[in-house]
Symmetry: C2
Subunit: 408 residues, 2 copies
């Protein structure tokens, strides 16, 4: 079988992690090129490929050079948030499948650039939203599809991840989060929670997101943290941050369902994506890992009784993908999600099909960031979320082309 040839752009922490997974796990993929604006990072990627495969990839600081290579089939984008859309559009223009790491957009116009490039070129573009492939997320999607929760009327989720150390370390680490937290105030990372919720709610396939409001708390977490760790971050002395500690975004959908997203990355707490699905017949709550099904004899005042019963339901409703590939996926780390999402992307490239997370998903999920920025800047006004499909969401034919890793 002919191998898929890919170029990887962005060799920071995430890029190296994903490259490692590809090299270790994806037998049908050849990494033909690695790229980073920083020479040392590009070199590190090149070294990794050579060590694993014995073959020297193109190693470059120029993304254009990779995108223009005749020999590659797909571009994988692991670079800073600001670069995702321009790289994706350019790759589509050059006929290369796009797999782009998660992150929000900076302007609404950029999101349309993505969908318009797809419509012009016909080249698929997939956000590599690994959380859509989490074991819990897929089991819950399975439960929703089987009608366990009745009609879904509300979902919530959050990116609850204490990143103070990563953000404050952004000068040494050359990390894009630092500048984003310093100058912007928005839901800057919506897709880990929104992706799986969008699949549950059939967003862009019979349903769509209509409008949102977004509200940011004051920004005290990072400044407090930096002050208390002043010896560790002398270069941040006196830094002020615009990014509120907690950003709450409420989205309404065409079918009347609502979605609440919380960005929560600069206060102390344990990690969670807060994945919550509320239906007329039952619910799932990630924070207590519990399924609650409608039952007149339920013990309504003893929530603890239901804590942690998710194991039982994950087993019973384990998604076929996890049934088949779960053990292998977990070997790759990151809870197995990276292997799954990469497999989904490479399957589409190999078969020449559309991707299970498509350009309309990518654009609409990324649009939440600039729209939340607008809402916050204007006192939490409701802002419209565009219909990137141009009306096609109502009747859109998005049947599985026969791909195993589709998100049905």
């Amino acid at each position: 079988m002919k191998k898929i040839k890919v170029g990887c752009i962005g060799m920071g922490c995430r890029g190296i992690g994903m490259l490692t997974t590809i090299l270790n796990m994806c037998e049908n993929v050849d990494v033909s090129a690695v790229c980073d604006l920083y020479e040392d990072r590009a070199a590190e990627g090149g070294k990794l490929v050579e060590e694993k495969t014995g073959k020297k990839p193109l190693v470059t600081c120029c993304a254009d050079e990779v995108i223009k290579m005749d020999t590659i089939d797909a571009i994988l984008i692991f670079s800073a948030w600001e670069s995702h859309i321009d790289l994706a559009v350019s790759a589509m223009e050059h006929g290369k499948y796009v797999g782009t790491e998660v992150g929000g957009a900076y302007t609404l116009r950029d999101c349309f650039k993505l969908t318009e490039a797809y419509e012009r070129t016909g080249v698929p573009c997939m956000m590599l939203e690994n959380c859509c492939y989490g074991q819990t997320e897929l089991a819950v999607l399975n439960m929703v599809r089987k009608g366990l929760f009745g009609e879904t009327v509300h979902c919530s989720g959050g990116y609850h991840h204490d990143l103070r150390d990563e953000i404050a370390g952004g000068i040494a680490n050359r990390h894009y989060r630092l500048r984003n937290y310093r100058y912007r105030n928005c839901e800057n990372y919506p897709t880990h929670e929104l992706g799986p919720i969008a699949k549950v709610l059939n967003i862009n396939r019979g349903n769509r997101m209509i409008s949102l409001t977004s509200t940011a708390s004051r920004a005290r977490g990072l400044e407090t943290y930096i002050k208390e760790n002043a010896e560790k971050y002398p270069e941040l002395d006196g830094f002020k941050f615009k990014q509120g500690d907690i950003v709450t975004t409420v989205i309404t959908c065409a079918d009347g369902s609502t979605i609440t997203l919380t960005l929560d990355t600069t206060l102390p707490r344990t990690y969670s994506r807060g994945f919550t699905i509320r239906g007329t017949k039952g619910s799932y709550f990630e924070d207590t890992d519990s399924v609650f099904l409608d039952d007149p004899n339920a013990d309504h005042f003893n929530a603890k009784k239901y804590w942690g019963n998710g194991d039982k339901y994950r087993e019973k409703y384990n998604h076929p993908l996890w049934e088949k590939y779960g053990d292998k996926a977990k070997e790759a780390g990151h809870d197995g999600m990276d292997y799954m999402v990469l497999s989904a992307f490479f399957e589409a490239v190999e078969k020449g099909t559309n991707t299970p997370i498509d350009v309309y998903d990518t654009a609409s999920w990324m649009s939440i960031t600039p729209l939340s920025e607008d809402s916050i800047a204007n006192g939490s006004i409701p802002v419209a979320i565009p219909d990137f499909t141009g009306g096609r969401w109502i009747m859109r034919n998005d049947e599985n082309p026969g791909n195993e890793f589709w998100l049905d």
Copy 2:
């Protein structure tokens, strides 16, 4: 010691419950009158008083008759939501302390009626928000005051209570919720979660609520429930409900803190008030009953480790009121909160002081309901929350007059 003489208005389920607690637990209180629009309910209240005390109270369907009694010191309002403010204003005009059961207002103007009546008469008015006196809420307030969580930047809470049976049973039960859910769409019951949060955030005492947005999901829970229990509720056949299943309200405060409130009463789940406090140094989460304190060695990816550690912190930071009265309070039922809040009210009446939850708290907490109704009706626009204190929140002298049950 001279006993406090009170008149109780509203002898529905809640009124009878509170009356029972007063009769059983509050030795310094005489119930001089009971009142309900329904004769049978008024009679039931009267019978209860007579059985417990051997004395016949005034039993009437006319609230005015009670309010005008020269011999009583205070009016307790347990009636339907719609009647709270008119009764409270009238009681203040007649020089009677007001203790009013929780519930939202119907118009913003009504909230001003409350504060203006207080300013005209000098008679205190207290919302009997029992949840401010919950053991967990008071222990967490204690932790906040001791600086355990650093600066508080965000709080959230919800009224997560599956009330489908109570609402659908509203014709037989003559319950006000049924008509409210049928005709209104708002955060109709904000105070169980907002009250304790307002105390944490010093609302109306150095801080105030500035604006809110509110978003309602579609209303599917009740209609699904009624359809599936058609034999139980034949009189509700074909009923439509305006009240969304999940209402998310986001409030901004003068100090930049934010508050998220969730009304969640018509979908299956276990009970919770979702009480969550987020600070720069730590957090409390009711849903997992866990305290998380900033710690570089914390196990960030193992939230389960912290589930249920609240017991330890409740013990260590138990509020003095719970230390002293906890056992007695619990005897009265409703997790001891009713005894506590009634004691707080009667202490103020006895001493002639202001109440720990005052008329400005009552008005501002109740205002969330009509403001959320406005926001929802207008597509989640931000609406201003008035400053009911007329600027006095900044410098307001609200020191404890020496009351044991004050909420410091």
